[in-house]
Amino acid sequence: MFEPEEELIGRVVRQLRRPVAIDAGLDARVMEQIARLPARRTAGPVRAVWRWLIRPRAIRLSPLGALAIAAVFVAVVLWRPDRPSSPAPASARAFGFVVVAPRAATVSLVGDFNDWDAARTPMQRTRTGESVWTAVIPLTPGRYRYAFLVDGVAWLADPTAPAARDDEFGAPSSVVTVGGS
């Protein structure tokens, strides 16, 4: 009823090994048929972008290159050219400011070192009832414009310091220069 398994396998092998003659025009006919097929619906742009995003890529990177990329990243994120440098304790020097303001209720020291914020550096009376006011602040090397604001309304330049020449705002300012050597 059944042919032996070896004969069956032999017959199949012979059949498979038989040379196959392919028509020389086959390729052209296949391509022609493909061209006639309706255009396949392309994936939407969102899907294409998503595929692009999730497709893994192999990147060859030397350790030096990785460090360079990390350094650039840190520099871009953290660096701001206009960021005021925080006072470095090593280079900052304490500077005392003194002004005589009789009858003043409050005196503030304002300048380039405190964003001209009258609330930042209130001056202290040397003694209750006296008219001498002082403030001590750390300054790093540089040139600073400043003034005293009396009772929140009156501006006073420092009579013991050089005057700021380019004073466009109608109220006097002084300058202090902090050296490094």
Binding site: P56, R57, D82, R143, F169, T177, G179
Partner: protein, 212 residues
């Protein structure tokens, strides 16, 4: 080293870079103190200065000074614009390696009338920071010393004098002027005294044991 990065990882890094850049460019919150007509113009001037690699902090401080002194918006804008121009001229005179504090001091010196060539010559002869020599030059002119006399005196001292020597020189000039000396001769006299002191101090420093 080989790493496999997915698209989202690329996207995340790109987004962080963009966010970092945006953070660097956003409006300085201190400028909120300016009124609404001055704020956008000052912000644009600050952005322009940043793009030109000029220090922006002096511009912000000048604007804040105007705001605190309740100056009109147009005066604040004019002051900031003028300072930005001065900073650019200062950089032209001192070169691209000048520090922000040097540029600020140089801008003030130029505004006081110092010739740009004097600034360039200072850069050439002095290895240390130019902030104090430039400030002393500006302050002398402000005290009534003719700019040529002030520039000559500072140039004669700048090569070897320390910052403290220059500040002491300025005080001596101001003291003599207050006592009635003509500004130019007070400057020449104080410069001669300061130069002699600098020579003595330099000699003492050289003879100090244990120092190179």
């Amino acid at each position: 080293m080989t790493a496999r990065w997915s698209g989202p990882a690329f996207g995340l890094v790109a987004a962080m870079l963009v966010a970092g850049s945006a953070a660097a460019q956003r409006l300085d919150p201190r400028l909120e103190r300016l009124d609404s007509s001055a704020r956008p113009i000052v912000a644009a001037l600050v952005d322009s200065a940043r793009a030109a690699a000029l220090p922006t902090e002096p511009l912000v401080q000048r604007a804040l000074e105007g705001a605190t002194k309740r100056a009109p918006a147009e005066r604040i804008v004019a002051a900031v614009r003028r300072l930005a121009l001065d900073l650019g001229h200062a950089r032209d005179a001192l070169g691209p390696t000048a520090s922000p504090t040097e540029l600020g001091a140089a801008a003030a010196a130029l505004r006081a009338g110092a010739p740009p060539a004097t600034l360039t010559e200072l850069r050439r002869i002095r290895r240390e920071s130019l902030t104090v020599p430039l400030a002393v030059l500006t302050d002398l002119v402000g005290s009534g010393v003719p700019v040529d006399s002030a520039a000559a005196a500072v140039l004669s001292l700048a090569a070897k004098a320390r910052d403290a020597d220059l500040v002491e020189f300025r005080r001596a000039v101001e003291r003599d002027i207050a006592l009635g000396a003509p500004p130019a001769s007070a400057t020449a006299t104080a410069a001669a005294v300061a130069a002699a002191a600098v020579q003595v101090n330099a000699g003492a420093r050289q003879q100090r044991p244990g120092r190179p």
